[in-house]
Symmetry: C2
Subunit: 436 residues, 2 copies
Amino acid sequence: MSSGGAGSNGRAAALSARGSRIAGGARGLLDKGFDLYIADPFDRDRNPRGILNLGTSENKLCYDLIQERLTRPDMNYLAPHLLQYSDTQGIESFREEIAKFLTEYAKAPKALNPEHIVVMSGCCAVFATLSTVLCDPGDGYLIPTPYYGGINSKTWLYGGIQPVHVPLFSEVTDEESHPFQLTVEKLETALQRAKEQGIRVRALILINPHNPLGDIYPAQLLKECLEFAHRYQLHVIIDEIYMLSVYDDTTFTSVLSLDCLPDPERTHFMWGFSKDFGMCGIRVGVLYTRSHEIRKAVNKLAVFHGCPGPVQYVLSQFLSDRDWLDNVYFPTNKKRLREAQNILVDGLTEIGIPVLKSSGGLYVWADFRKFLKSQTFEAEMELWWKFLDKKLLISPGKAFCCYEPGWFRMVFSDSVDKIYLGKLGVTFYHKIICMF
Amino acid sequence: MSSGGAGSNGRAAALSARGSRIAGGARGLLDKGFDLYIADPFDRDRNPRGILNLGTSENKLCYDLIQERLTRPDMNYLAPHLLQYSDTQGIESFREEIAKFLTEYAKAPKALNPEHIVVMSGCCAVFATLSTVLCDPGDGYLIPTPYYGGINSKTWLYGGIQPVHVPLFSEVTDEESHPFQLTVEKLETALQRAKEQGIRVRALILINPHNPLGDIYPAQLLKECLEFAHRYQLHVIIDEIYMLSVYDDTTFTSVLSLDCLPDPERTHFMWGFSKDFGMCGIRVGVLYTRSHEIRKAVNKLAVFHGCPGPVQYVLSQFLSDRDWLDNVYFPTNKKRLREAQNILVDGLTEIGIPVLKSSGGLYVWADFRKFLKSQTFEAEMELWWKFLDKKLLISPGKAFCCYEPGWFRMVFSDSVDKIYLGKLGVTFYHKIICMF
């Protein structure tokens, strides 16, 4: 007897149709690049000829500070309740601390409610749970393009939902003030096109500060986007994972700071410890949503994405130390981000590579178009491989679904050590560019 | 314009059809009981009239030991790589430590391969990912009944798959040696019935040591079940989360200890730190599976269920201290489990409540049938509520999908303090029983 529906080979028999779809999903270019790096990582002492990683968005500039803070005596505490089952939404005292922290740092007009928070094992889990409960398989979400391409798999693997691109271009038209500018008209156009294709659009995803552009949505545009979404009963998922990694004097407007939201029940905010605190390995993401029904649904899934009690305790202590955050961590981090960004941008400018003005995030969006053999994505990939041959990992625009070949994202926060290496890196690129 | 498919009320508009299904899923009886307990927990000093929890399967007998071990200096280490992105399958050194540990304690005939391990945020996540990649929505899995009812939501919320019961009964027939005995014939019958109902059965789930029966599958029966599954190309998921919580001298046979598996590619083992180390709050579950394709699929999902780097480090240290495990922790834990079990069983026996012979797990399966007003599940619930009125939380058989009303699971490992309270508890039951 066959178990039914299974093919003749072992693979089909072992996995379900859904499992085969999941296993067979192509790995993104960013993953491929990371794999190559992991197999041969640069280390000044142990592997000086290894791959220099300016591709992965990690902030390694302040490990000295973080490490010092996390190993102080107040962190060494292990009450039995931290090892026991607890609220799957997140331990209440941790949610209270996060609510206070976000109220202050996102400049909320009134105190955020800890009951509106769900804590999960990373922002990937926030994307997975939200897309599962807000959308049905086959539904779509609008997303301005280029965008962080990892969102594709995060919304697709469990959620089975698909991006509907809102293509942005570098050329600045008469109505626009800067490259890759988002407007509500572009959202409208993309939505109508999706409708014509029979795609039910359920949500709009915005990343602010933007990844990979490194710019920040002006308050006015943010409000227009929220009103647009409200008109069409779309959910808005705002990913503010780089919220506190703003290194110039541009005013950052968190969605949590707005006095009045057009559709509070459909506006969902996410943030985590990965980027602003350089803790990608700590796996803690935060969802803030006012909708009781949505929290109820997400909480049912949260049991699969739990954070360890001791980690919740340590991060509570960490967030509550405002003296250290305000006087040590944030000023130093901002200063180091700015310095690192300057070194990279100056180096690139020197060799004739234009870079978009960036205000936040850990990367710049650099224009290598004039170095392409032809204005195609094949030529972009060829350039990417040339960089890799020279042991330099950066991220091609294709990984961000960019519509124009020749743009690359370059991360400048790989380590204090690498600020110096950023300079070396520029020499690398120079060499490469001389090859053409 | 409507976003399509949304009803007129806010709830339908906010959630997708799938989201409504997830939010609307009834909470299990075990969850309801836990909620009541959390609102009014017994505490000898602060809340002596609160609810005594003999319902939640947590081992609190050895916190003193665990706490002392986890706060030693060797745990206080925070290398930068622990805070960075790492292998989503689990940090390699942690997987190596787990492989060594399981090889030894599950008595594997040859060293287990760390590459066959996936580490996730708890065994709930292991169930969710496995059911998602092995089954399609609507598929079924065989499970001997009574069984830990939490498996229903764990396999259904993401996986959308359903249990196919293999009903077991307390009456011992001529061919059987003990109550609730599983036989391959019963598996066959259940499988055929499912086929007739048009359910595609993809897997068999076994819990060993059993929850709630507290018994252990003899090696011979385990092999017969594996052969049965192989005949029908079923996956076997063996949940051995109580593997090291065996407190009598019965020989426990882990599936990892078998020399030769009928279908190694379809045999999947899971274990975690929750029960055997009393760390339900640490959220670390382990999958061991030999199938490359299945690991590939599970790993795609593992990004949503990650464990913090520092926790992986601490648990590596913990597992590697064999001297402490062998000479301090395991002997003490076994001794305390046995003592706690004895106190409860003796107390119950004294007042005429039969208990099945148990060898493992943190609970006994007790027969309250003669105290039911009628042999119905309504009467079982009535008795459950009477216990709760008397501030005693235990778990009714219905929560385990038992086919005979009147059985209850009683946990004996709530704390060293509660061993004493176990005695008090027995007095409680006595009082209650006198009420009938």
